[in-house]
Symmetry: C2
Subunit: 562 residues, 2 copies
């Protein structure tokens, strides 16, 4: 869509947040990077939310004030001294800003609080451990003194996973604990410290010949939207999924083994590719969100890096039911899986077309002529990866299935557009939030037999709220089901109103038999639903394990609802 000269451009706040400000904590990503809604997206928002240009004149609650050092640490002086002795003066801080920063993630609730300059549930000390030895001493001291202990990886939690309602200590793992421990080209594994961040991890593997003395290049295959601002350890302890997970696997599948420091001792789980020696300890630990112990080393699967084999594709389907049928067929064909697969519902499709400026051009007209009508049509994007002949053969099979299911091939172009924007899209949230427009997401895994019922129930609930956009896509595919990802956008300035709206959505997901989360994790946000979701008998199992590891309830207390 060409910009009309008369088009109004909101006063997007493109300035660096400033040191030690609230904004510097909640702003997504790099300090000096911005992404504002395209004019197409901006018009959609105005139209759907019934806003006008006047609503986008003056940013407010921008959090540009400095965090004053007002909140005294609640840890006794002699204990502070002990912690300082453990990690060194340069690796401890207890000023309000640091404590707030490392107790805050990127959930809409976090952002509401920071924009209102509300300081809640922060830790008392921030420590930057230098290695496993420091962590062992810290865990032991916290256990002895009954001081709550939390972990900060990359800080991208959208489930309030970093909140410290009991105060205590937060360990920041990406400061020092971000190194390679061991690389095994023959086993296709790499062992790293948990604080290594996504881009460093992936670059290291892509450049393995130069950096790791390897024969070939590799990929970790894990690209969550938070890729640039999340850590390898964070992926594992919260069970994240990357956008290419349908081929490479979720973090759940990618982690071979881990070394954990717990109040009940230190151990390293085994590296066997499979074993029939009882329930796997690795499984008991992964996804434990710091409630059982602290991950200090993690061994991950790696894959040949062969981007030259990738095949990108896009299809348009006449409606959601037909499109779901096609992706189900793809997932159950037994032909291997594409890395990326992403099916947008009609609302997301229409908005995407406008965002990418693809509406009302010749192609759009042709599609309408072919019966692919806005309000009904659905966009499927994807990419095959892996070994060359596999990628090509799967690409052909997908084309075949899509065509059989009335899919209209749109080349790889929209997929390329999406790939380009996929890590920068989250920047738009700050721009919209500055004008009181909230944008938030919830996701759930569903079995195929439940996808439509859940989709309609949750979507109806969201759309009941007046002037609200609800875009939904299915992504992360399995033979047994998929993940439904709901993005909702509405004008809402009151955080209580937001929380009640959001909780209503979670209730709807739970009532309609979706999982509480597919890849965002539990955090403090989902914790209150856990007992109902799993049932008492299953929660009791997690409680028993928790009690074994952490009898004093100091490890991320309240996490996982335990």
């Amino acid at each position: 869509m060409k910009k009309n000269k008369k088009d109004y451009t909101p006063s997007w706040l493109e300035k660096e947040p400033g040191e030690k400000t609230f904004r510097s904590i909640f702003k997504w990503g790099a300090e000096n990077l911005y992404k504002n809604p395209s004019s197409g997206f901006y018009s959609v928002i105005k139209q759907e939310l019934r806003l006008s240009d006047t609503d986008f004149q003056t940013p407010f609650n921008t959090g540009c004030n400095i965090v004053e050092n007002l909140h005294k640490t609640r840890i006794a002086l002699k204990d502070l001294q002990e912690f300082e002795n453990l990690v060194g003066r340069e690796n401890i801080c207890f000023d309000t800003y640091s404590r707030l920063k490392y107790s805050t993630g990127k959930s809409m609730e976090d952002i509401f609080n920071l924009r209102q300059e509300k300081i809640e549930d922060i830790c008392d000390i921030v420590l930057h451990p230098r290695g496993r030895a420091d962590i062992e001493k810290i865990v032991s001291l916290c256990h002895k003194k009954k001081i709550a202990l939390h972990v900060y990886g990359g800080g991208s939690s959208v489930t309030k996973g970093l909140a410290c309602p009991k105060g205590g200590v937060t360990l920041v793992l990406n400061t020092h604990m971000n190194k390679v421990i061991c690389f095994s080209e023959i086993n296709h594994t790499i062992t790293v410290e948990p604080g290594m961040m996504g881009p460093e991890y992936e670059n290291l593997l892509n450049q393995a010949p130069e950096k790791l003395n390897a024969k070939k290049s590799y990929t970790g295959g894990h690209f969550p939207q938070s890729f640039e601002f999340s850590s390898v350890g964070g992926w594992v302890v919260t069970l994240g999924s990357g956008q290419a997970s349908s081929y490479y696997g979720d973090a759940y599948d990618l982690v071979v083994s881990g070394e954990y420091v717990t109040p009940a001792g230190v151990f390293k789980t085994s590296d066997f590719p499979a074993a029939a020696t009882g329930p796997k300890i690795n499984d008991i630990m992964k996804g434990s969100e710091g409630c059982f112990g602290i991950l200090v080393a993690v061994t991950m699967k790696i894959f040949p890096y062969q981007p030259e084999n990738a095949k990108k594709f896009t299809f348009m389907f006449p409606d959601f039911e037909i499109a779901v049928n096609a992706v189900q067929r793809i997932s159950q064909a037994g032909a291997g899986m594409p890395s990326v697969l992403r099916l947008s519902d009609p609302e997301e499709t229409d908005i995407a077309m406008k965002m990418y400026g693809l509406n009302e051009n010749f192609l759009d007209k042709f599609m309408r002529f072919k019966g692919l009508i806005p309000g009904s049509r659905c966009l499927l994007m994807g990419q095959t990866d892996g070994e060359k002949s596999f990628s090509i053969s799967l690409f052909k099979e997908i084309k075949k299935i899509c065509k059989k299911n009335k899919g209209f091939y749109l080349t790889g172009f929209p997929m390329k557009k999406w790939l380009k924007g996929r890590f920068s899209d989250p920047y738009m949230r700050d721009a919209l939030n500055d004008f009181g427009v909230l944008i938030d997401t919830l996701e759930t895994s569903v079995t195929w037999d439940n996808i439509h019922a859940l989709y309609h129930a949750v979507r109806s609930y969201i759309k009941q709220h007046p002037n609200t956009i609800c875009m939904t896509h299915a992504s992360h595919f399995y033979a047994q089901g998929t993940n439904l990802y709901f993005i909702f956008i509405t004008k809402m300035q009151n955080s209580d109103e937001f929380i009640s709206f959001q909780r209503g959505i979670i209730d709807k997901i739970e009532e309609n038999h979706g999982s509480l989360s597919h890849h965002h994790g539990v955090g403090r946000m989902m914790a209150p639903w856990m007992e109902k979701h799993l049932g008492k008998n299953q929660m009791d199992i997690l409680r028993a394990i928790k009690k074994h590891f952490d009898p004093n309830n100091i490890m991320n207390p309240g996490g996982l609802g335990l």
Copy 2:
């Protein structure tokens, strides 16, 4: 190899074992089916074990005596009455034969005992529960009365998984609990009772259009060598692997969810294809070998049944190192995995050639000419499966990798021979045992960087024993490693000597960093190594879970080394 007229044929004992005899318990498979070593295999055995035809004249310790009803049950009369009230008179027995039968698996140690008519570690009552409700009442009664409780699925355990050192109750699940609970074609899952046996399960899926009112045919993809005599529940609670696991997955991967009855309550784990809601309860239960609770319903993944797409292949490699390199390349190519892949070491290759009558023919001479020399050459067999273009493209890729690694293509013929015999080969054990020749197996999973070290250490240990065949193959492949399967054959009549030899092998596996088991499970056989293998801190985790479920230690007490 043509049979020479002068060839001696041992007096193989081809007669039905007779009702209530020891032999009827240990004999593999169907009552009236036999498989004797081919003349080629018989000559190899004589040659390698330094035996002569005279050693094969009179079978001994054949276990043809009837099990006398001598062992009184140790359960109090009023408790017996209570159990009878729960399940009905027709579903309880406490005669010695039944108790022995359902407390005995197919381990070499079990067979030694039965051939020597030694009755050890048997249960006191056998119950045939009619469904979940019966099991709930039985668990509750055993918990209250502190009576040990065990489960018998198909009875094929080779790890003494059925022994009852504390006596108590054994539940037989394949009598009544063998039905379909729910079939979901859309989710590609089937939920069955745990006692459904392999062939029934697979036939049901293959004939899904007729039997389950499905649109298509399916396969469970799980074909352990014990396929015909093992149960779906048994596969899951012992973490079995089928011969096609490299494509379909191990039982670990195949199980979606389970319903468990435990002393701490009943629950059903969730069916989500993935979820980020903490450690998965399903993972905590699978592989628990009856120590935590009893699996009463299990939901498994199913796959399109498309045998017409299978591509069979066989290659001969000049030596084991080159061959391992080839299978590692296949497993790490990112092209998907073949269903079956089985690489024999030189000793197994030479014996297989003789068993299949492939040695000393024209092809053999040609191979020798090409530098594929007995004592060094290695046979790789396999099959690709799945969707047609996937199977073909992978087949081509495998051919390419094998040829690049000096593999000589032998068509699919030997693979077809192996497929034909794969479920009947175990029958040979009884024939050999009748003449004091033991044949046993141990298996372990290894990472690629450790395969040669472990292979040589374990093999050297076995070969140190005089006149002993040691055939090894790698099967079940992963990007990170494989499974090494050791088959050892020697003349040994003393069970203490056998146990000490076998323990020595397990020690060697453990010392050389192999897993205690890849797919046989733990049972009573591996239990003594568990603490050393996992380390105290990890065993403590399993102990804590055990204590939660089973504070009175009645659920398969001593299982998993707990």
